[in-house]
């Protein structure tokens, strides 16, 4: 599987993500700078990492969503290439219009940096097929703007269509209906605030994130 990790000025989880992808797929991803207009030929999987692209100027993810590479990411997503946005990557994907809703300031106003409980809501997607439905996971979060909000109609549609991939099992940031990660209508774009790439080997203190990459590898290969 040929992967690409998009790198913006201010990304800071790009190398963690690349390490996790290489660990699971056996192949190091291409690191693609935000100014590049194209993805490498034959890219099977695109990952948009966490961090603070453009210093969160204007809104988290707003500037990055308008950078040249994002047109290529949107094209690839439209053709069915899997796209995973983690943390700031999730914010970028909503700002780019690839996922609905918006990520607002945490309800408690604090930056939340700890391991939280998650539940797999939909285990049928290409990202979650290696998990059991309703399985509990422990995955770290580290964000200030993770409060997922959308209008009631959008939330109903997300839930009705099985597009909620993960939910928090505890109060974390005020997200509507405890949503931690969502899929697009086609099911090939996932955005999530928790960091699966930070729990992929025993030395991390947990491996609950590893099967996301393993399931994806199986789905793509």
């Amino acid at each position: 599987m040929s992967s690409a990790v998009i790198v913006f000025p201010g990304s800071n989880c790009d190398r963690d993500l690349a390490t996790a992808i290489k660990l699971v797929t056996g192949k190091a991803p291409a690191m693609v700078w935000h100014r590049d207009p194209d993805l490498p030929e034959g890219t099977d999987f695109i990952a948009v990492p966490g961090g603070f692209s453009y210093g969160d100027y204007l809104r988290s993810g707003a500037m990055a969503a308008r950078s040249p590479i994002m047109r290529a990411v949107a094209d690839a997503a439209g053709k069915g290439t899997p796209v995973l946005g983690i943390c700031n990557g999730f914010q970028v994907l909503t700002e780019a219009g690839l996922l609905p809703g918006a990520l607002m300031r945490n309800a408690g106003l604090h930056f939340v940096c700890r391991t939280v409980g998650l539940k797999v809501d939909n285990s049928q997607s290409i990202f979650t097929s290696a998990y059991q439905s309703a399985e509990d996971m422990a995955v770290p979060v580290a964000h200030h703007d993770g409060n997922f909000q959308a209008d009631a109609e959008t939330l109903d549609r997300l839930e009705g269509d099985g597009r909620v991939a993960f939910r928090y099992t505890e109060a974390v940031n005020g997200s509507a209906r405890n949503i931690a990660g969502i899929l697009n209508a086609q099911g090939n774009v996932l955005g999530m605030m928790p960091h699966p790439e930070r729990v992929v080997e025993d030395a991390h203190g947990g491996t609950d994130g590893r099967r996301l990459f393993e399931g994806l590898l199986e789905a793509v290969a």
């Binding site: 700002e95 607002m104 945490n106 408690g108 005020g174």
Partner: protein, 77 residues
């Protein structure tokens, strides 16, 4: 010419920042503040003749996130 763009949260969208400011005002002893909503002011220095439509387009494409925010354009002399 100059234009000022006011970006505000849509009614009904929770505003944790406004709530914190509200609490701080109460903490300072100001009474009678019923609600606080925080927004942004963006000042644009534009070429003469820039149309309202062009400015609105800038708002929709970048300055505001219309999922959660409204915008209002005010032209200055």
């Amino acid at each position: 010419m100059k234009a000022r763009v006011f970006v505000t949260l849509k009614p009904g969208v929770l505003d944790p920042q406004g709530k914190a400011i509200h609490h701080a005002l109460e903490g300072l002893g100001f009474e009678g503040v019923n609600d606080v909503r925080a927004g942004k002011l963006i000042e644009l220095e534009l070429a003469d003749g820039t149309s309202d439509d062009a400015i609105a387009d800038m708002c929709r494409k970048l300055l505001a996130n219309t999922v959660i925010e409204n915008f209002k354009i005010e032209r200055a002399a």
